[in-house]
Amino acid sequence: MSARRRWERAAIQAACVAITLFMGVPLYLIALAALSSRDSLNQFPLPLLPTDPSTETMSTFLQSTGVTGGFINSLTVGLGTVVLALLVGVPAGYAVARYAFRGKDTYQLILLLTRALPIVVLSVPLARIFLDTGLYDTTYAVMLLHTALALPTTVLITAAIFVGVSHEQEEAAMIFGASPLQAFLRVVAPQALPGIAAAAMFAFMLSWNEVLGATVLTLNQRTLPAQVLTTLADSPLAYRFAGGLALVLPALVFIAVMRRYLLNMWGTTLR
């Protein structure tokens, strides 16, 4: 029995290590390549340790046209998407969690169906609408598209969290003098923070990674991925790695910041 358990534990450990490597090794290799000089990339065999670190590639990449602008655009769109998606999605999630209304199940299904449409199919008519309304080639256009794409997950994640906070707690708050809004802010929101953080993370990542829509809806106000993907196709290999690292890093930083709240969800404080 105990031998078997030990074996099981070892297997779980091995699986964890394997998954970590699966995620980590590519990140490492990209970082390594991005921080090597162009010449050392052509060596064979490729050194797996940073023997000759150089910021040459990276700085050239960062100084190339459109990268800084794309970075700022991406950040604007990403954070804007988070704000908009939470502004609309959290109340919607609350409604789905708390109230029984006609067509609730259908509503939830249709929410998910918006993700079933390929972005290309959405983008072309959207581009037309945005051209008509003068929003074309602005960060707002991309922000709106990304918000629409992020809303289903935002609604479903926050709804799941709100279900976890018992309605009786809200009622108790209202009995003891809180208005419905105060009850939400003082009692529900603090407990729902992990879920809201998770939803924010999803929205940001989605926006950060989305290329197609951003490419179709903009010409000059490209987000970083759109910018990088269109220009790097014709660039030397080293720049592609630099571009990869530049794309990954901010997302990692955002996750690291949000992780604090996410851990709360899986950790102790709830219940």
């Binding site: 009995i175 003891f176 404080t269």
Partner: protein
């Protein structure tokens, strides 16, 4: 402190179609402890929630201290409440939990501390004030919920099955403590439970509810002793009241092939069937036959420690009898029974309502059976 008056409250839930409370009116006097008791789905919690302002009635009014509060939100009704699930806030320390109502009322810091401390001491929570609810046991969490409710000194205290999540021993202890605390602070209290023993032990008065209506309301012992209908007798008391079908013939009650002297009040029921109700402890039991005693067959013997609970067969009917703990009885043994004549209650077989309680066929009378 103030009285609570509920007038013709009707509430129908969209899903059920049936009325959850059906034209209920009752009054809780100033400082009184009224218990609403009944089986699940009888509307007692709905009634409480309408008093609390958490549920909106279809029609009818609720007033507290003479003020009509039917259209006021919960926070403006000046009441406090203890919830079945405790509903304490897991992200706040015990101190903030107890003081939540004071904080919402913007009570100054000094007074806040003093009142929280006093409430915590009353419920023996003094040393836990800086803990989170997750670090407390179920019983302690319930104490936090009660402390939170009493610290605000509200005019009316509502409790929704506050003991139902505690284990049996703890429930018994806390029940007595709750009674002491509530009588100490003297608040008008409306208490909901499905546990008839809790209702009997706590209430100044008990309102037994069934199908959205109040079946009977009165002092616990009165309701226990003189159930207004078969349902109340069967619901209150453990074991429930025994019911036998008897025929009134020549001034006697005939049950199967035995007959008992019938009281005068049954003279108008000559020749008809009535239902006889009698409590387990009101049946005397003996091993020896004697004139006027009825023979019965013991089926099950259940010692409870303080007494012996016999299940016996009398003709068609099954009876629960409470015998002294020392009574020597075994299964299949023949015993002899005699109900205390004053403890017999009579019910109309078709309506289940009590026939005249004391004063002949006046007052609460069931519909006469036409043979």
């Amino acid at each position: 402190m103030s009285a609570v008056t509920v007038h013709n409250l009707v509430k129908t839930y969209a899903s059920g179609g049936k009325r959850a409370t059906d034209d209920v009116s009752l009054e809780v006097a100033d400082g009184e402890f009224l218990v609403l008791v009944g089986p699940s789905g009888c509307g007692k919690t709905t009634l409480l929630r309408m008093v609390a302002g958490l549920e909106t009635p279809d029609s009818g009014t609720v007033s507290i201290g003479g003020r009509d509060v039917t259209d006021l939100p919960a926070r403006q009704r000046g009441l406090s409440m203890v919830f079945q699930s405790y509903a304490i806030f897991p992200h706040m320390k015990v101190r903030q939990n107890i003081g939540f109502g004071l904080m919402m009322r913007k009570v100054p810091k000094e007074e806040f501390d003093r009142r929280v401390k006093r409430a915590a001491e009353l419920l023996q929570l003094g040393e836990f004030l800086d803990r989170y609810p997750a670090q407390l046991s179920g019983g302690q969490r319930q104490r936090v919920a009660v402390a939170r409710a009493i610290v605000v000194d509200a005019a009316v205290l509502l409790m929704d099955e506050p003991l139902s999540n505690l284990d049996a021993l703890l429930r018994l202890q806390f029940r007595a403590e709750l009674k002491r605390i509530v009588s100490q602070i003297g608040t008008t209290t409306l208490y909901v439970t499905h546990d008839q023993a809790e209702a009997m032990s706590l209430g100044d008065r008990v309102a037994v509810m069934r199908d959205g209506k109040v079946a009977q309301i009165g002092a616990p012992l009165e309701v226990y002793d003189r159930p207004a209908d078969r349902f109340v007798g069967g619901f209150l008391g453990s074991p429930p009241m025994n019911f036998l079908t008897a025929t009134v013939r020549d001034g006697s009650l005939v049950i199967g092939d035995v007959s008992l002297p019938a009281p005068d009040l049954l003279s108008t029921w000559e020749g008809h069937e009535v239902v006889v109700g009698v409590r387990a402890e009101n049946i005397q039991v003996s091993e020896e036959p004697a004139p006027g005693w009825v023979p019965a067959q013991v089926e099950v013997v259940e010692p409870t420690g303080a007494a012996l609970l016999l299940t016996a067969r009398l003709g068609e009917a099954q009876l629960k009898i409470q015998a002294p703990a020392t009574f020597p009885a075994g299964p299949d043994q023949q015993v002899h029974l005699r109900p205390a004549p004053k403890a017999l209650r009579f019910y109309d077989p078709s309506t289940g309502l009590a026939l005249a309680v004391d004063q002949g066929l006046g007052g609460r009378v069931g519909r006469r059976v036409t043979p």
